[in-house]
Amino acid sequence: MSRNQRLGESCYNDLEKINAELFTLTYGALVAQLVRDMEDVDKVNAKLDEMGHNIGLRLIDELLAKSGIARCGSFRETADVVSKVGFKMFLNTVPNVDNWNERGTECTLVFDDNPLEDFVALPSSCAGLKYSNVLCGVLRGALESVHLAVACEIVSDALKGDPKTEIRMSLKHVIEDEAGEDYRED
């Protein structure tokens, strides 16, 4: 067992848990309501991403505080922590990190098990819906907080007949330390 795997296990054990079915159904109710309210699946996808972003901005502090991880040395290490500690802690699932590009800036998270998608079947009217798009937003928000600007996209979706759900995560750039507008010279 690798170090991050052990860390993920111990963080997971220390957290308070809720019933997984309740969680899955609550998320389902939320997506269904968004589809009813917005009527346009593209808008729903964008909304899920935005909601995820807000969640990610908060979750990162929970992860850092509970795991005691100080800073990752490379994007490869970051992806390992995301999968083995982050997803383990909050969703009790560990996606495989695969398909690295040569420069080590892009990878794919492959989900054997995605708790958000249990009990879900998409109606034909929602063919364009990215049901788990909230996860992309969470990744973007959480990594943005630790100075990594990433783009995330669901590239394969078990709900649409693909064998597994996969999220492509690519690092755009490292965000430099910067003080806010109040600190600019007049």
């Binding site: 901005l57 908060r58 990162i60 502090d61 929970e62 850092l64 505080a65 509970k66 991880i69 100080a70 800073r71 990752c72 040395g73 490379s74 994007f75 490869r76 970051t78 420069r103 080590g104 800036t105 907080s145 630790v146 100075h147 990594l148 690092l171 490292v174 430099e176 330390d177 910067e178 003080a179 806010g180 109040d182 600190y183």
Partner: protein, 159 residues
């Protein structure tokens, strides 16, 4: 012996002062302008970090595209003749800053641990998990202030 604690700030990564608490501050030329006071402190810490990065031994160049910004410029405390400033900086860019009486390195270590615990136990539980909190806005939860006060005063009595 009781360690004198002066004041405490929480800054976000952009330098917004999320929280301020004062216990004793005999001399404060900026008493009527707390915003300016917070900006001075953050500006100092920000510049010190930049300087630390430039001066620290070892190559500062990141070689791989995905390398995180290095941590060589990180600073945990500094002292003048009169006081010590303690800083705990998180990977998400939050800064927890406490000014105290001048203290030795053992006490500094203890205070680091207390600041870490203000992050892990107080901030995460009472701020991050509070649905009414908007990231980047000042912390207004009164129980955060109360718990923090108890924690800091308790710590000061141990020394």
């Amino acid at each position: 012996m009781v360690l004198a604690i002066y004041n405490f700030y929480v800054f976000d990564r952009r330098g917004v002062c999320l929280f301020y608490q004062e216990w004793s501050r005999e001399h404060n030329p900026l008493a009527d302008n707390p915003d300016e006071d917070a900006k001075l402190v953050f500006g100092l810490l920000f510049s010190l970090k930049q300087l630390g990065r430039k001066f620290s031994p070892g190559s500062g160049a990141t070689t791989n595209a995905g390398d995180a910004p290095d941590t060589r410029g990180n600073m945990t405390s500094f002292s003048t003749n009169k006081f010590t400033l303690h800083q705990y900086e998180t990977a998400s860019g939050l800064r927890f800053v406490l000014n105290t009486d001048k203290c030795n390195s053992q006490i500094c270590k203890n205070i680091q641990e207390t600041l870490r615990s203000t992050y892990a136990d107080l901030y995460v539980h009472m701020v991050v998990r509070n649905p009414m909190f908007t990231p980047g806005e000042p912390i207004e939860n009164p129980s955060f202030r109360k718990k923090l006060d108890a924690m800091m005063v308790g710590m000061a009595k141990r020394f």
